[in-house]
């Protein structure tokens, strides 16, 4: 798919992972022990053959820059292809103006210069496996102006809150967008993935800016349901919409399960990430681990149940880690008992012996904190 420019869009106000995001933008939030969220969106694009990807980063771009580098690990050819990290270049006077349309306008030159007739747009907070070649084929076949990937879900009361739901007519044309307020169980939800001609995209961005300085891309698309032929693409397969801490926790937990994980992970569709050159994980004679996902470089002497451990996590003897997400480099000291906790990078549980959260009330331990 060499005829489309890939755009990984801003997270916006509907997607916010409390705690974790204080330290890093959405794209670099750690996921499943060894990934960052952006790995999924970006691998989907490069696996689909997209050669040139723009990643829009809202704030604190450093961690994203360092994670992505030149995009080599995502198979972007450094001569022919391009990974372009963009953020607002002008000072933003108020956070309400800091949205995707502002960023597109500020970087319009790079969008205009890219020599591709189409754009493929996706957010970084939808974790899924999607081949954009299939979406493009559907787009070309339907003759739509815009194709919007959606998923039919039966848990709209808990998940995808704040995301647009779609009403489709029998030709799959979208006739209505409505924010998911969690009132109904069964909905078609937008994945915020769009395919359209680049010229149309540019027109819409300019129109959005004229309409209101707070308009987003989703807003302007919603405005044009009558004037444009906007069609849905039914994406099957696993999708996690990581737009709050509960969903972040839930997605990590449910992907421990092999059956779920195999819906996302396919050897023919690798999700690339930056390697850390960690050694294999070591289990001591005292280790007692069950039903968990463990990244490399860990050293486990305690008990781990139903948890996700990031790279280089240390669990000392007597410690019990249950229903937890432990991010890379964290240290769980002797005899510490953790339940329903999210322990951020390089945090150390040394002195506190019990951190007992509940599914409804997760405990979040800050980055580099020592408790």
């Amino acid at each position: 798919m060499c005829n489309a420019l890939g755009i990984i869009n801003y997270d916006d106000a509907s997607a916010y992972v409390e705690g974790l995001q204080d330290y890093r933008p959405m794209p670099s939030v750690s996921f499943l022990g060894r990934y960052r969220l952006i790995d999924f969106a970006l691998s989907n694009m490069t696996n689909s053959g997209i050669k040139h990807v723009q990643v829009y980063v809202k704030s604190k771009p450093r961690s994203v820059f360092e994670h992505l580098g030149t995009g080599r690990q995502y198979n972007i050819n450094s001569k022919r292809g391009k990974l372009h990290l963009l953020s607002g270049e002008e000072p933003i006077h108020s956070e309400i103006y800091n949205h995707d349309i502002t960023a597109f306008m500020q970087n319009m030159q790079f969008i205009e210069e890219a020599k591709y007739p189409y754009v493929v747009i996706a957010p970084s907070f939808m974790v899924t496996k999607i081949d954009f070649n299939d979406v493009m084929a559907a787009h070309l076949e339907s003759g739509a102006d815009i194709t919007v990937a959606y998923k039919t879900i039966d848990n709209a009361k808990e998940a995808f809150i704040g995301i647009n739901t779609l009403t489709l007519d029998r030709d799959k044309r979208i006739v209505k967008f409505e924010k998911n307020q969690g009132k109904f169980k069964n909905r078609h939800v937008s994945l915020r993935m769009y395919i359209m001609r680049k010229n149309l995209f540019i027109d819409l961005v300019k129109l959005a800016q004229k309409t209101s300085s707070m308009y987003t891309l989703a807003d302007i698309i919603g405005d044009n349901l009558n004037t444009l032929n906007i069609v849905g693409y039914n994406h099957k397969g696993y999708v996690a919409c990581i737009n709050n801490l509960d969903q972040y926790f839930k997605a990590n937990m449910e992907l421990i399960c092999r059956d779920k994980a195999s819906e996302l992970f396919d050897p023919k569709w690798p999700f690339h990430t930056r390697t850390n050159d960690s050694c294999p994980t070591q289990y001591s004679p005292l280790a007692d681990v069950k039903f968990s996902t463990i990244a490399n470089g860990c050293f486990i002497e305690g008990e781990v149940r139903n948890s996700v451990l990031g790279r280089g996590v240390i669990v000392k003897p007597g410690a019990v880690v249950e229903n937890c997400i432990v991010l890379p480099g964290a240290f769980i000291g002797e005899n510490a008992r953790l339940n329903y906790c999210i322990v951020d990078k390089n945090a150390k549980i040394m002195h506190v012996k019990e951190l007992l959260g509940t599914p409804e009330d997760l405990i979040y331990v800050k980055r580099r904190d020592t408790l």
Binding site: L32, P270, V289
Partner: protein
């Protein structure tokens, strides 16, 4: 450019036939070790960590996989502008074609490669050894001693000394005598096959050696004794720490087992001296509801739902529910099906131990290499 004051040349042509079927299709330096590595990752990572930018790898036997493996120099960070790993197999020249006739001849045939970089020093390494060593410190010693040649040595138990090339040195570290596998060793300082040469001197010695009819063109047999006889300044550099030549199935198994005790001398979790290797695109390992994992070293991509004890599992191994893996090494992609029992063996890559099959036996006998699928 001071960048290339020392260029490393890794001798990686050995066949390693005592590793049996493991080296049928790959050269010994490409054999797997330590849950995720290949043996040659160790000298290559040592080079990268010692600030060496240019590494030549001298290959000969079944080198396709080894060549394409080491060529990906970004794995070791050696992909900067003036860095690189260069594969140097024998080649056709206007005067004809010749295989490498010995370790020294391999370098002689690549004098033109070294001349491109015009280094002050050349570091000669073997691609077969597992150890972590700072060659930059060795170079400091070399300079401090104003040496012509510096040889890294390691203390071995006196009773084993007769299996090694033994260096007899004076109190300053200057080598006064070299004995290849002496029956009555006078010291226990064994050569590790790691040499620093002043390139100008080595260049001259190699050009002389190639004309010497009786020479076997070998560093240990010809070049080093020749330099000693010629009164050159040869010094030892003492190495302390883990060092292993994994020449046999038994020693390969042992070296892997050495890793499952944290506090092992070869600590691969030390982030100040990382060993770099292929970047594998696979999710984290999964430990299932029925798993028991004790005293093990397990790599990413593994799926374990059975019993694993005192074992090393490479990338993407599967141990199904009810299976037992004890005192064993599973190489990448090995599968142990339900009810199977695996004991004191090395299972080669992609080999499957079918349901209820049993391989290996307890005790302290020789380690078996399982290189074909096994049925119950």
């Amino acid at each position: 450019m001071r960048q290339h004051s020392m260029v490393a040349m890794i001798l990686a042509g050995g066949r390693g036939s005592r590793l049996l079927e493991l080296t049928n299709k790959v050269a010994k330096p490409a054999v797997y070790f330590g849950g995720k590595y290949r043996i040659i990752d160790f000298p290559l990572s040592n080079c990268a960590n010692s600030n060496i930018n240019i590494v030549g790898v001298l290959t000969q036997y079944e080198s396709v996989l080894l060549n394409s493996y080491v060529t990906q120099d970004q794995r070791w960070g050696l992909d900067a502008k003036d860095s690189g790993i260069f594969v140097l197999p024998p080649r056709e020249k206007s005067e004809g074609f010749g295989l490498y006739r010995g370790t020294a001849d391999a370098i002689t045939q690549n004098i033109d490669f070294l001349d491109q970089y015009d280094p002050e020093y050349v570091l000669i390494l073997s691609g077969d050894h597992i150890y972590k060593m700072d060659y930059d410190k060795m170079l400091s010693d070399h300079k401090k001693n104003n040496a012509d040649i510096t040889i890294a040595v390691l203390e071995v138990p006196m009773k084993e000394a007769s299996r090694f090339g033994i260096m007899n040195a004076d109190e300053t570290g200057r080598i006064v005598e070299f004995e290849e596998k002496p029956k009555q060793p006078k010291s226990n300082l064994a050569s590790m096959g790691v040499y620093i040469f002043n390139w100008k001197l080595l260049r001259k010695m190699l050009n002389d050696d190639v004309k010497a009819e009786k020479s076997s063109h070998d560093f240990g047999k010809d070049i080093i004794p020749g330099a000693l006889n010629a009164g050159k300044r040869l010094f030892t550099h003492r190495f302390k720490g883990y060092w292993k030549d994994v020449g046999t199935i038994d020693s390969l198994w042992e070296a892997n087992m050495d890793l499952i005790y944290r506090g092992s001398e070869l600590d691969l979790s030390d982030t100040s001296w990382k060993i770099y290797t292929e970047d594998i695109t696979l999710p984290s390992q999964y430990i299932g509801r029925n798993a028991t994992v004790k005293n093990a070293y397990i790599n990413q991509g593994c799926i374990v739902d059975g019993h694993v004890e005192n074992s090393v599992l490479f990338t993407s191994c599967v141990v199904e529910e009810g299976a037992k893996v004890i005192d064993s090494v599973l190489m990448p992609g090995a599968i142990v099906r339900k009810g199977a029992v695996v004991r004191r063996v090395i299972v080669a890559d992609d080999v499957e131990i079918k349901e209820n099959a049993k391989v290996g036996k307890p005790g302290d006998g020789e380690i078996e290499l399982i290189h074909r699928n096994v049925h119950a």
